[in-house]
Amino acid sequence: MALTLTQVACEYAAGTSLASVALSDVSLTLEVGQLVVVLGSTGAGKTTLLRAAAGLLALSRGTVDVDGRPASGARARRGAVGLVFQRPEAQFFSLTVEEDCAFGPRNLGRRPADALDDARGALAAVGLDPDVFGPREPWSLSGGEARRAALAGVLAMRPRYLLLDEPTAGLDAAGRDAVCAAVERARADAGVLVVTHDADVFLGGADRVLVLRDGRTAFSGDVPALLDALPALAEAGDVDPPEIPRALMLARRRGFAPGGALTLDVEAAADTLVAARRAAAGGAR
């Protein structure tokens, strides 16, 4: 079971003077239970990739398959693919949080009582107590709570594939951690594709990373491979390196610990630096 994009190309305003290629020849596989992170600078085509995967865009080339079946159009993917846009809390319209979360399940034809159960279950899954937050007005929530409630609105549809566009943008540290935990929990039943600038938050648990540059694949691989390629990708401005590898990269540039591999782990980074220090001390002796 996988959501598969094969050599997808996308062009906005094709055939006019405003035509711009947003995506060319991008391939991607998202399996249930996986976390795939998409990085890249602004305008690299990240959001277009999400929209293409959700069936909201007409592709100029390539195919998108859901569980081995070609699915064209948003309707064919209803229920299977859940998409959360940037700042989804702007889309609240119901008087209570649980009603808003039940909107999706009801659109899928679930009975009102079942839809409400789905909604409450999804709220719990994002770490919001349904008894406390369910009856509240969506507009009374804090930034992090609202973001998680909006995420619950899509999780309530129980999608097999969850596509998130910058889920942590504009949140404080606590909000980021809460969203991150919710994403980690959603992974139990769904494949999650995250488009983000917050490499720090999501890289730790990522199974695969895709880096886009001008609509093309600049990098595709797992996290260790990404760490190997990180200096070049950071140089090109594609990825804002997470703090720990950045510290190691700076140490390297200053002629220290050139042999150690980059890592996301604090302990491993400390070990690398200590080992380099010892080697330097030993060499001096």
Partner: protein, 269 residues
């Protein structure tokens, strides 16, 4: 998805019509409108007048290099009104001289002529006035309106504030359209459909779009007002202008000559 586009949306180009001062263009369009309503539909001369004004619109369109498609698009919105105007005027209950009968209803010659005249007038009104917005950027237009209304400042009408309101309103039309589209896509991603069911079901389907849209608009209006205040905007009093546009001699001459010709057409025919 259908793009939300307005009638007479500005088409940037470099043409004498585009370069003409906005206030001058407003003057010409005002003269055009007055002339249009001076014509008498019961006389043959009224139709000659319409033809002359139509020629004026065609000429202005040609000079402005605005695609004809953009001008005609505005007519789609009033096509129904035009059709109704013709039908309502042409149909009479048992008239004396009928061109064609349909039971007790009949098409009457004089009525048909009146209907066609009114429909043509609506058509010219829409195309002529849309030419103003097609060739004038919203900011220029608001500036032009401010200068046209400037004399009202003497009787304490807040002309500057009105113009600022207008500029902001015009500025936010595309933003709002974009926002509406984004919210629609997001609700579609949650399984909402906007094109299924009868008219009532369809109207109801828009609640999930309109509520967040209005919420965002009010929020944005609030943020904009605060931001303007933070930059010391306190009404138009004492504000200077970054681009001080004045009527050049060529603007005056064009406006006076064109307006005179247009009014004369309405007066004489």
């Amino acid at each position: 998805m259908k793009r939300i586009t307005g009638i007479g949306q500005y088409v940037p180009a470099d043409s004498p019509v585009h370069r003409l001062d906005a206030a001058a263009k407003i003057g010409v369009v005002a003269a055009f409108t007055v002339s249009l309503f001076m014509l008498d539909g019961s006389q043959l001369s009224g139709f000659v007048g319409l033809a002359l004004l139509a020629a004026a619109v065609v000429t202005a369109t040609a000079i402005s290099r605005v695609p004809v498609r953009a001008v005609v698009r505005g007519l789609k919105a009033v096509a129904v009104i035009m059709a109704l105007t013709i039908v309502a005027n042409a149909l009479r209950w048992q008239p004396a001289d009928a061109l064609a009968r349909l039971g007790p209803l009949a098409v009457d010659g004089a009525g048909l002529r009146t209907g066609v005249f009114f429909a043509m007038r609506i058509m010219l009104l829409v195309t002529g006035t849309s030419l103003l917005t097609l060739t004038t950027s919203p900011v220029q237009l608001a500036g032009g309106i401010e200068r046209v209304l400037a004399p009202l400042k003497l009787v304490r009408v807040p002309v500057g504030d009105l113009a600022m309101t207008l500029t902001i309103a015009l500025r936010f039309i595309p933003t709002t359209a974009e926002e509406a589209e984004r919210i629609m896509t997001a609700q579609q991603a949650r399984g909402a459909s906007f094109d299924a069911g009868g008219p009532i079901a369809r109207a109801r389907a828009y609640a999930p779009v309109l509520v967040p849209l209005f919420f965002q608009l009010f929020r944005r209006a609030d943020a904009l007002a605060t931001a303007m205040e933070a930059r010391c905007y306190r009404g138009s009093e004492g504000r200077t202008r970054l681009v001080d546009s004045r009527m050049r001699p060529v603007d005056w001459v064009t406006m006076l000559v064109a307006s005179t010709l247009l009014i004369a057409t309405g007066w004489l025919l």
